[in-house]
Symmetry: C2
Subunit: 782 residues, 2 copies
């Protein structure tokens, strides 16, 4: 009994019952024999790369094996993932040749991000670490020693690819997103090719399973291409993979069905010839498709190339240890010789393994890679670690004056319709650096003015196969998010509008991205990026037609938990504030911006100029809705009995109406109405750059009067922000509390206790000094 019992390394999949002729779907190519000097250079890179990657996991000393290997040379704790490394290094070496042969701009997106040793070893070999970390990781014995001994040790490179890794545009953590990010990166980058390795573990994820469809949204005239390499090494951490158990017929069928031409590379004996010829084939197919499109004779449904690479997990590592198969099994996933630091037998096995690469032949006396390696490298600026697109690509948008799209104070207007017109113009001004990704909700969210001068870009659909279409609508939030990430990380700006309730689908994906950007800000050699920008509408407060399943404001919390430097949540109360906020975020940098608004026509409280000022401050006293100051025209009372605060469109409406009604039935009560549009101003001073200073907070919310917050999100979330503010016990928070159905907007407010009469009922004579009579009118009659 027990876990998976593997009796042979790299066991072949059970054969399927598919007919033999489907194998014809797998592309056969004429395999060219590489010239000796190329093959030698490739092998030298691969051997050196594998040696360094393996050493990074094990060695804290004697990193070139110049002395006899001893237990004391082994790191006290062995950390790192070996299994995927040989395959990643193999691909890296071949991409070098490909880049040289075609003078390509190429990015290498590595799905198995725990294969950091492979990337770092390759980056050291090609001198990219030397460039970005001079004096630390130079191409000499000291630099190599630093790389190997500091890996996965505090202060050294971490075990997963992240923003500290030159050339990377993808956090190496949560699996599933490499492919969509790659497609996003090549959009509007016609000369870029991204090679994306997807591990067969990652390939089991839903996000990856649908990201294969992304070719259908790629216009070869305006965009570059992705070479996906599905790396089938057969195992996850401790179990075989789905794809490792699919035979060639199943794999050829599946990916042909997605729309690819599939090339299966599995000839281990001649892997260099096989892989390089296959990559050459892929580039030729890409050029063919691009040429046709760029000559305005586009191929309908072009079958883009992809590669399936079958190599053993932990290839070239130890074959067997203590009777257990290592190479070609899940035992090689992390540390193949876990007792190398304490067990002499394992130490010897490590010595044999590392010695097999003959590193002394590959580095010169100073520890610098020999000519056999360096002759295979592309020009520095084309190397995978040094393409500018990966580290300093930002092109700010050409902005326009938003006030010209402002609407008249006093009317009812939809925030989305107003923003749509502004964005329509912004798209016209930025035809190559701005895109919108949406899960088929643009019309429904009433942002359709965007389609006035651009179109959807869905290449498989003859009715929306628009050249230059700025809009992609695919019913996969994961694809939308992945495209946005890739597009943004390569220097452009994107927008992701969504139903409020479904943006949480990409909660953790957004967090992963934000982790990458947080570290990128700490890396001195990385430039700015546009922010990622979300618009949430069709909120719970107006989901009367779709009901309970469409009511979920939890994405606010996802953004709130990010670092304060990046986290921005805006709840503009009307169309002009919304417009001002959209304008602001589209030119902001390095943030995660969430803007929440209504698609329904709602009251416009502020003129464009007033909206600009309100948004600049993040919150303000709304004198027009408060009890007037008898001594100062246009101002409201200086010393309110109670402060009512609205945060969000519909709940602010309730606050204003509650104030109106209170004033009519209890005129003695002095009421102040405050609107908060920038949620971050509420956080305790010093905990966020937007946080109101204590004095300012007291000025707005008083020092001791009861404050009632009517909040769009979950009450406990707002309570968490207010904690630590002056006399929190005088504050009450109402908000969405997971009550809903297909019902009226009125009833939604009522069920979640955000409704006017419930707000009014919060206060007794004891708490505010004024008795409030029972209201006779509901605000619907006001």
């Amino acid at each position: 009994m027990g876990g998976t019992q593997i009796t042979i390394p790299n066991p072949p999949p059970l054969p399927s019952h598919l007919p033999d002729n489907v194998l014809d779907l797998a592309v056969q190519i004429e395999r060219k024999k590489l010239p000796d000097h190329v093959r030698e250079s490739l092998r030298a890179f691969q051997r050196a790369g594998c040696y360094i990657a393996a050493s990074m996991i094990f060695l804290r000393d004697n990193v070139l094996l110049q002395d006899e290997l001893q237990l004391s040379h082994i790191k006290p704790r062995l950390l790192g993932h070996w299994g995927t490394c040989p395959g990643l290094i193999l691909v890296w070496s071949h991409l070098n040749v490909l880049i040289r042969n075609h003078n390509l701009d190429m990015i290498y997106v590595i799905g198995p991000g725990h294969g950091a040793p492979a990337a770092l070893a390759s980056l050291w070999l090609e001198g990219s670490l030397e460039r970005f970390y001079p004096g630390e990781y130079d191409r000499n014995a000291t630099g190599l020693r630093n790389l190997i001994t500091r890996f996965s040790v505090p202060g050294g490179f971490p075990s997963h690819i992240n923003a500290e890794t030159p050339g990377s545009i993808h956090e190496g953590g949560e699996l599933g997103y490499a492919l969509a990010v790659s497609f996003g990166a090549v959009m509007d980058n016609p000369d870029l090719i991204v090679t994306c390795v997807v591990g067969d573990g990652e390939a089991e994820t839903g996000p990856t399973a649908t990201a294969w469809h992304a070719i259908k949204y790629l216009d070869p005239k305006e965009s570059g291409a992705v070479i996906p390499i599905l790396h089938v090494n057969g195992f996850k951490i401790s179990e075989r993979t789905i794809f490792g158990c699919m035979d060639d017929k199943e794999i050829a069928c599946l990916f042909s069905g997605y729309g690819y031409q599939v090339r299966i590379v599995e000839d281990l004996e001649n892997i260099d010839d096989d892989l390089q010829s296959s990559l050459e084939w892929a580039v030729a197919e890409i050029k063919k498709i691009q040429k046709a499109a760029r000559e305005d004779k586009p191929i309908v449904k072009p079958r883009w190339p992809m590669i399936v690479l079958r190599t053993p997990k932990g290839w070239t590592g130890p074959k067997k240890v203590e009777g257990q198969i290592i190479e070609g099994s899940f035992h090689s996933h992390q540390v193949p010789l876990p007792k190398a630091g304490s067990d002499e037998k394992q130490l010897q096995a490590l010595d044999r393994w590392l010695s097999s690469y003959k590193i002394s032949e590959l580095l010169d006396g100073e520890g610098k890679p020999t000519e056999a390696i360096s002759r295979g490298l592309p020009e520095p600026e084309k190397r995978l670690g040094q393409l500018k697109t990966t580290y300093d690509p930002y092109t700010p948008l050409k902005m326009i004056d938003w006030k010209q799209f402002g609407v008249e104070k006093g009317i009812d207007e939809s925030c989305m319709k107003t923003a749509g017109k502004f964005l329509d113009k912004l798209f016209q001004e930025n035809p190559k650096t701005l895109r919108l990704f949406s899960p088929d909700e643009l019309e429904s969210n009433k942002l359709n003015a965007i389609l006035d001068h651009t179109q959807r870009d869905f290449q498989w659909d003859e009715y929306s196969r628009a050249h230059g279409g700025r809009v992609i609508e695919v019913l996969s939030e994961h694809n939308c998010q992945g495209f946005m990430q890739g597009y943004t990380l390569t220097g452009r700006t994107a927008l992701f509008p969504s139903y409020e309730s479904f943006l949480g689908i990409v909660h953790t994906m957004m967090v992963q991205y934000s982790k990458f950007v947080k570290i990128a800000r700490e890396v001195p050699w990385r430039g700015d990026l546009a922010s990622i920008n979300y618009i949430e509408t069709s909120t719970w407060a107006r989901q009367e037609h779709n009901g309970f399943s469409h009511q979920n404001p939890s994405f606010i919390g996802a953004v709130l938990n990010l670092k304060a430097e990046a986290a921005r949540v805006y709840l503009p109360p009307d169309a002009n504030c919304f417009l001002s906020t959209v304008h602001h975020v589209m030119k902001s940098k390095n943030k995660t911006n969430l803007i929440i608004g209504s698609k329904q026509p709602t009251a416009v409280y502020l003129s464009p100029a007033e909206a600009a000022e309100h948004c600049r401050q993040g919150a303000s006293i709304w004198h027009f809705a408060s009890s007037p100051d008898p001594n100062s025209a246009g101002e409201s009372v200086q010393d309110p009995d109670v402060v009512l605060v609205g945060i969000g469109v519909e709940v602010t409406f309730e606050v204003i109406k509650a104030a109106e009604l209170l004033r009519s039935i209890a005129p003695a009560l002095k009421i102040r109405v405050v609107n908060v549009t920038d949620l971050m101003i509420l956080i305790e001073e010093s905990k966020h750059p937007h946080a109101l200073a204590k004095a300012k907070f007291i000025e707005m919310f008083t020092a001791d009067r009861p404050v009632l917050f009517n909040y769009h999100g979950y009450p406990t979330e707002l309570q968490g922000l207010l904690f630590g503010r002056e006399k929190a016990e005088r504050m009450d928070v109402e908000g969405y509390q997971e009550e809903g159905s297909t019902t009226t907007p009125f009833d939604m407010m009522l069920r979640n206790r955000c409704f006017i009469s419930l707000l009014m009922g919060k206060y007794s004579k004891d708490s505010i000094g004024v008795a409030i009579p029972t209201p006779e009118r509901s605000h619907r009659q006001l």
Copy 2:
């Protein structure tokens, strides 16, 4: 310009470049002509169903068209989704025949959950509404009137399928999960077939794209089967679908690659013959596969059947309105005649449309469905709305005494190893009603004792094709969650252990499920369900090897935002408490349980008996770690100067060590140490059933002394819970604050300010009355 311009209804996909012979992959069957009386009955059901579904969207009066249709008969607000309804009703009618023919136990899972009118119309016709809502929706004119007029109106059925819908086991909201839920439902239900309609919109989601692989985890000996029907009607809300733009060759290829036999049903002229013959074929194929397995001659990689149903969106609805194509285009998605209540022309179009079904032929004088319809229905208990498995299926687990697995107080032990041994035994005792789903992390999470007496169940892998294997490891959290939902909703119990950081992948999916269960609790005719149970381990505090990307405790917040009746979050401080908690949740009902623990060996503070008591209370004063009461042996001080609170394994360790160090360097300081294992006890009284009463809270945390919480999750989250508790301003909260890397556990605590000396430094002489000298030793030396 503008959106998608559709010039013909139901436009055919552009042809692919796949070779013609792949079309042979699409299964050809001998199509049987249905006997007239069967076809007539089918058509009667379909016509009546479509009539009622359409009327539900439009009519508030004159529901049988007995009078001339007038504007006043139209609902003031038109809500509902027509487009998917005809296809769903078509399938329903055919499943009735299939159930009768084979005496099947069948559940119908409807992915397009906004097609509630289709389900409700069918449920009324078959008498299932009458059974569960007697007197309200009876099969007579009054019942029908109620159904039609109250739909999507407060108090009536909502616009999306939910727990109020008889026969449903799936919330009709967020798309992507229908298929995985269906597979979960048939596991260990050998006689059950779930027919699952997946819309072509839903099919674009990642979760659905990988859920097709679920057949690979289905053992036909022990489990039932799913008949997936991909319903390709070509359009989402306002855009064509990916699958609508794939030709038959692409579709046949794709799903053959997944491992299915694909039957494409698209002969609209003879749709009844075509669909029924295809369903008969599917059942025959299923029986063939099951028979072989049950006779212990299992077919290797059986190719399970699936159906692709191509019908026009909004079929049988209006063809064209105001020059716009409706039937066969996205215009039929929701309300095809949006102005029917105000525009005479649209009203006439509605009249023509509704009249086309000739409802008067299908209902008798009392409004009861005629014999043509009723003769096609299965026996009541087999009807799709009345199968007991869908509404009252719960089989509680046979529980075992957990204390026999308790470990010795004082040693270091892994919570996961301890729980693994208990669960191993629990699986042995419950070989057919308990399953574990994991994204390939069982070994890594050190729960592998579970595999001592059971195995993984991965049918495509010859090495883990175990009969009766209780463990499914697939690297898709969405599949794990979907399987768990389906398994639980059909009466069994499941467990989903995960890396802490990646459980948030299913955040919104879990919320959708919880919405279903919330409503299910309010529906009198639904029985109990097991809770859904999550174990989070490999937490941020011990991700020193994987680093920043593996650090994300946000799933706590997802559970906290659920309704208090269901939300349960436990952070047991040691192995015995963990064990007690696992035991508790496995027998609990109707909850969403999240338990967080460590896989590393950590201190065992409490004996099994003490752990039981601590968990029963949810929190307690840990006298052994506090300053002793000089007057009472074994007790701690009654009047502490400060209260230190640990919530979570590693942060509690820091608290205990801080207390220890403080006591040694500032002996005058009276310290109380509290551990909270049930997070919910902290919430303000009356807001959660577990919340501590005010007096009890003060007894534990004092009325006014400084309280320092060292919390495993985000500080603002805990602050939100504590808000409203006595004198919140005396409370400080530390916790994970999104700082990390590949670094030591020590450094992780330091970076997130949860470390002992930082905890100690919180207090000045002013705040606690005792000066604390600078510590000379770190607790690592203690």
